[in-house]
Amino acid sequence: MFPAAFDYLPAHSVDEALAALLKHGADARILAGGQSLIPAMRFRLARPTVLVDINPIAGLAYLREENGALLMGAGARDFAVEVAPFIKERYHLIFDAAAVVADPIVRQSGTIVGSLCHNDPAGDWGVVALAARAEVVVRGNAGTRVVPIDDFLIDSFTTAVGEGEMALEARFPTPNERTSGSYQKIERKVGDFATAAAGVQLTLSADGTIAAAGVAIGAAGPTAKRVVEAEKILLGARPSIAVLRAAAAEAKEISDPIADTRGDIEFKREMAGVLVYRGLLATLKRLQQGELH
């Protein structure tokens, strides 16, 4: 299968890319990693007439910590996250996810910001970004804005990035040493989208109660969703099996998946709960909590 014809515009600066987007409007698409877009174009499910390639823009693939946050540039690829030692050390939730996105070859091209912008209902990074309370830096003709992830993910394949705009960077708050997380994904095989997924991040206070909680699920609705009630249950609580079960039950409650070849609705909803529970358990284990009761 081959894409329909299009014009290719390699951008060498963000301004150049924005100018091209402005000029061509809705007909133009940004080409970053291309790992979702190009297959969609090959099946002719996507037919942009202009592709603005941001890969030639120098200095966009950064991955650095600054002002209490991990900054991922629009060119940063999954693979870079997967192999960065400081991610493995401190960003447990992100590290988990980076190893299970798509397949290991696709991860060498795919970008995190691109995945957030694609906003597939079963994508991994939206779940992670919600649980980690990330923000996305969006730039357009009118200037730059920083969008909290909850406002960024609007609907299936729809984000806060408007026409003529591009997402420049994703920002993940740097976890302190009493913070950890876990990403749990059920997939039928490597390379598949999630059947169910859960991202969890917890911060413990000195007295062992939960000082901050992020819980999100994927493949459970039109877009990744925050499990607000679970976070409420966890916040301020002392971790116990009962608390974890109660939080997990909230995930199952709000899970609203579609039935497809990956599974029926009942199974997927159940898995949302199981994965949140397992994610919480794994997180507490990483925080060196003893046996839970």
Partner: protein, 799 residues
Amino acid sequence: MAMTTDPPVQERHAIGQSLKRKEDPRFIRGAGRYVDDIVLPGMLYMALVHSPYPHARINGIDKTAALAMPGVKAVITGEDLVNAGLGWIPTFHGYDKQMVLAVGKAVYQYQEVAGVIATSREAALDAAEVVDVDYEPLEVIADPFVSMRDTLIIRDDRENKTNHIYHWEVGDRDKTDAALAASEVQIDERIEFQRVHPAPLEPCGIVADMSGGTGRLTMYLTSQAPHAHRTVVSMVTGIPEDKIRIVSPDIGGGFGNKVPVYPGYVVATAASVILGVPVKWIETRTENLTCSGFARDYHMRVQIGATAAGNITALKVTTVADHGAFDAVADPSKYPAGLFGIVTGSYDFPTAFTELDAYFTNKAPGGVAYRCSFRVTEASYAIERGMDMLAQRLGMDAAEFRLLNFVKKVQFPYPSPLGFVYDSGDYHLTLRNALDKIGYKELRAEQAEKRARGEYMGIGISTFTEAVGAGPSKLFDIMGIKMFDSAEIRIHPTGSGIVRTGARHQGQGHETTWAQIVAEELGLDPQNILVEEGDTDTAPYGLGTYASRSTPVAGGAIALAARKVREKAKKIAAHVLEASEDDIEWEDYKFKVTGVPGKSITMKEVAFAAYTNPTPGSEPGLEATFYYDPPNMTFPHGAYIAVVDVDAETGYTKVRRFLAIDDCGTIINPMIVEGQIHGGLTEGFAIAFMQEIRFDAAGNNLNTNFTEYLIPTSLETPHWETDKTVTPSPHHPIGAKGVGESPNVGSPAAFVNAVVDALAPLGVKHIEMPLTRAKVWHAIKDARAAASAPLAQNGATHA
């Protein structure tokens, strides 16, 4: 522990050596030559238009817009082909005919409707999008159990206005029914073998070349059976066979997918004839999965009877087969259900009966032998699942139950109640070796401990028997052409040579193993025996490579052709050694003069003499051709054991260990045989856990590319443990049986048996393949619900 019974290997033996593959240097350098690598001057490209509807009347096709697109040279429709006499082609066994392009109506989703020929792949695809087809959707039948009611006739072109295609049966119905009724214990279960697709990584394709004004058609074709295809092309088109050359270049995997003739081949060929230039068509993956031959889709009812002590009394299997919209099953003409009669398996049933009814549905046609000797996989799955179900019912250990009921070694050659004569085997030895090697007793002890802790661990056994190497010409033919195979061997003056056969490898290693057979028979260096297959202009006629028939049939032909060469060489040796032919003996890879120590001549020396000093009064040269019509099939067998852990919370199954002990008779190249087993087990694993071509009730195909048709990666695939027993075939020239398909035939039942065994304490009796997490999870949930319900009967089943 003695795991093998093969003879000590002498250093000079070519057979039995793990010779590195001779074909590999080109592949590891990226210098293999597959159909899509062939580029001819002036070549055009074809894209196909497919029906989005599973069943729709075609009121008209408007080519205008497509023809106006840049680079478009032609648009061909079904009507055009009808006018050229090519509207329909016979199906594989010749009992039905199949539309090349939809004529009047489309009868399955993605059916080919038109071909667009243009100057580039992209241009052809662009134009295919704008071919304007006026469809009028019709009612769809996607279920054979609905089809059998004949409320709607799918194939109104046929004389018989019914969706029923045929009834087939073998065995003694009355005796079997009586024996079942009299059995103290019985199972009566429905077992489905889902529709799957072979999906080799190289899709199907063709470069059809009628250019050059010679009136000669060359087809570079992804073909597992080039000669058979040449004959079919000649019969369909009327082009004399000498004017057709089929070249099957390197093939990127076949697994039965590249046995049939597909519409794309015919349309590309017609286009080349019309336009006078070469035309290339390469399937997209979606076309491969939706249009080309599927496999299985058998809905089976399995009844087995036994005494209370566990001695089997009778077997009855009743099958409904979904053949899709055309009866295009790839089975020998006299065997509409293939070799399904092997369904009595490795067990000594006093009586058995099996019957099958096939139906049309609005689905793609097929029924190819996917890494399988014609429906042997379905049969093997039915009996191996059935035996486990019966063992579970009897409360017997699955291994003990099998050992009690196996055909015994002394019974060979064993006439099965459904008409086969098994050549050789030692089922008890193979299973006992497997039990020892995997530590069966220890595993059962571990399982008991885990069950006490509420953990789910399962052990699954499959002890299959296959029937491969079709086959004896009195029984097997395809459209009348007997299923022999052939070999031609030429030994050059300096002692090297070339062997050609009618087989066509797709990764099985013929270029190495055939050289080993010739080297063994003639005492030559296998490195200097070139193997060539796949060009109908040079290779002798043969029926091709599928159904594990290469070694049983072509391999036999090679050994016998080599022996013909040796017979001639013996005369030359006598002449050179100035001895009587009666005094010449072949020993230690040399011709020796009996009783005269030191007087000998090598085959290399004889070869030189054949051209420089031929026997006076006889033909110079040293070559032979042999067409081998095997006296029987070969019956490989094996004992497989799977060990699984099931995560009851998520339905996830981890195959922790898998041991395969195969008995394929004499082993030519142990390294290659082991590789074949690894590959077959992986496909069996894929079928058990992932692969499925599923349709919704409206006839939409849900598995149209590799994001939905799931092929396991290195991460899901278990580590395989392999071993062997060797029971040579008594009738095969070198004692070899087939092996490439055994692991795919034998393993699915082992996986399912293991998962059901893990969940048996819950009362789970069966789960249909593929064993997805969702299905396993539901089976557990349903079983628990049934167990806690006050009126619970004995367990629950989830289909």
